[in-house]
């Protein structure tokens, strides 16, 4: 899905937990996330702490969209 969208010239940032899979599916901008069942949250924290984590990950993803990349790049 990442590739089909990226093909049209729209940059895609892939937020996912298993980075090796993201690489094989051909994502160019990759932001690793928390865990498979809750990539953008962490139920063991309070809702406020969780949201903070989510906000930081989304900030990282947005920033990745503003950076030119040559090939597959993981934004740790």
């Amino acid at each position: 899905m990442v590739k089909e969208i990226e093909k049209t010239g729209i940059p895609v940032v892939h937020m996912c937990t298993i980075v090796p899979i993201s690489k094989t599916v051909g994502a160019n901008r990759i932001v690793p996330t928390v865990a498979i069942p809750h990539p953008l949250g962490n139920p063991s924290l309070t809702m406020a702490e969780e949201k903070e984590i989510r906000r930081n990950l989304v900030l990282k993803a947005l920033e990745a969209l503003t950076i030119e990349v040559e090939g597959q790049t993981v934004f740790e």
Binding site: M1, V2, K3, E4, I5, E6, K7, T8, G9, I10, P11, V12, V13, H14, M15, C16, T17, I18, P20, I21, S22, T24, V25, G26, A27, N28, R29, T33, A35, I36, P37, H38, P39, L40, G41, P43, M47, E50, K51, R54, R55, L57, V58, A61, L62, L65, T66, I67, E68, V69, E70, G71, T73
Partner: protein, 349 residues
């Protein structure tokens, strides 16, 4: 010949421990065979014996690859197997990655050969086919009856350090290796024969297939976030509560497009996941954990991003045929273009 000692790797599901709610099950080893080990053992006949079975939850392995691998290698070591078998994983993505990864580490670090099995679209195939023998299976466990004898045959060969035949003979997925052999005809003759066959529009097999690099070059970065329209796409299966379009929990045949303009925060009252490939408890409690609508709405209000596209696009990514996913995304991309979307956040579980 001596009876080979086999250690088998399976996931929590095949071990009968549980489904997705137990996918975080840490590694353990048990004496003897469990579950799919029975079919393999039957195919081994008297030539090999499963002496122990490693069990690990699929999410646990994938989220803690380094640690899982080290723990499992130490569990296997005392059993001194001649050969290692993992799966088969069929079309289960995380299970396939786990099977490929652990088999490659058993080979490299314990110097024990290994075999696994997967459906050709399993993401574990592309990741590990170069290092590991992966018997090609169909996409569901119904193929176990046919897969077990193929895996068993290769296990016995590798266990006795016998020569392994071609991918076609042994039913494993091509590893991209070239093997020298003496041909009956010299190269120039073979080339002319091939050319003549081509001219006659007859079937011919190239001796040097070109690798297919299915890569897309990165799109240019967006210049100014505060002027950009951002859209959310997910393979994590988030849908309005009740799953109005009945998106399948696996092997999806469709995607959904849903309006989020009225939501500043997704809750258990209005959204849930349709995905059957991970424990849904956390996503059902708060779907923002999969698609970050709450923080993107805040950022839109703060002016950090120009706007959030009022619709999100969703499907379930487990077991979904690559051809289907491709078709969904082609349509989604057209819609994104038509709505002037500048960039996409795609989340996966």
């Amino acid at each position: 010949m001596k009876k080979l000692r086999v250690v088998h790797y399976i996931n929590q599901f095949y071990a009968g421990i549980g489904g997705e709610e137990k996918a975080d099950y840490p590694p353990e080893i048990r004496e003897g065979l469990i579950g799919p080990g029975q079919a393999l053992q039957a195919a081994f006949k008297e030539e090999a014996e499963i002496v122990a079975t490693v069990i690990c939850g699929d999410s646990y392995y994938n989220e803690n690859m380094e640690e899982s691998k080290s723990q499992i290698l130490e569990m296997i070591r005392p059993y001194q197997p001649d050969i290692f078998v993992a799966g088969p994983a069929f079309n289960a993505g995380r299970y396939g990655v786990a099977c490929g990864d652990i088999t490659s580490h058993v080979q490299n670090e314990l110097h024990i050969p290994g075999v696994t099995g997967m459906y050709v679209e399993n993401p574990g195939v592309d990741l590990y086919k170069k290092e590991v023998y992966i018997i090609e299976t169909k996409n569901s466990a119904a193929d176990m009856r046919k897969a077990a004898p193929k895996m068993a045959k290769l296990v016995i060969k590798l266990g006795h350090h016998q020569e392994v035949g071609s991918p076609e003979e042994e039913h494993y997925i091509k590893r991209g290796l070239r093997k020298n052999y003496f041909a009956d005809k010299r190269g120039s003759e073979r080339a002319v024969d091939m050319l003549l066959a081509k001219l006659r529009k007859e079937k011919f097999d190239t001796e040097y297939p070109m690798p297919s690099f299915d890569r897309v070059s990165p799109s240019p970065a967006i210049k100014d976030l505060s002027q950009s329209k951002i859209a959310i796409v997910t393979s994590g299966g988030i849908v309005p509560k009740g799953n109005p379009d009945h998106i399948e929990s696996s092997s999806a045949s469709k995607y959904g497009t849903y309006d989020i303009s009225q939501f500043d925060d997704l809750t258990d009252q209005d959204h849930e996941t349709a995905h059957g490939g991970y424990d849904p408890v956390f996503a059902n409690e708060d779907s923002d954990r999969v698609i970050p609508v709450d923080v993107l709405k805040e950022m839109e209000k703060e002016g950090m991003i120009g706007s959030l596209h009022p619709y999100f696009y969703t499907t379930t990514g487990n077991g979904t045929a690559v051809a289907n996913a491709k078709a969904f995304a082609t349509e989604i991309a057209i819609d994104l273009k038509n709505h002037g979307v500048d960039a996409v956040i795609l989340t996966s579980t």
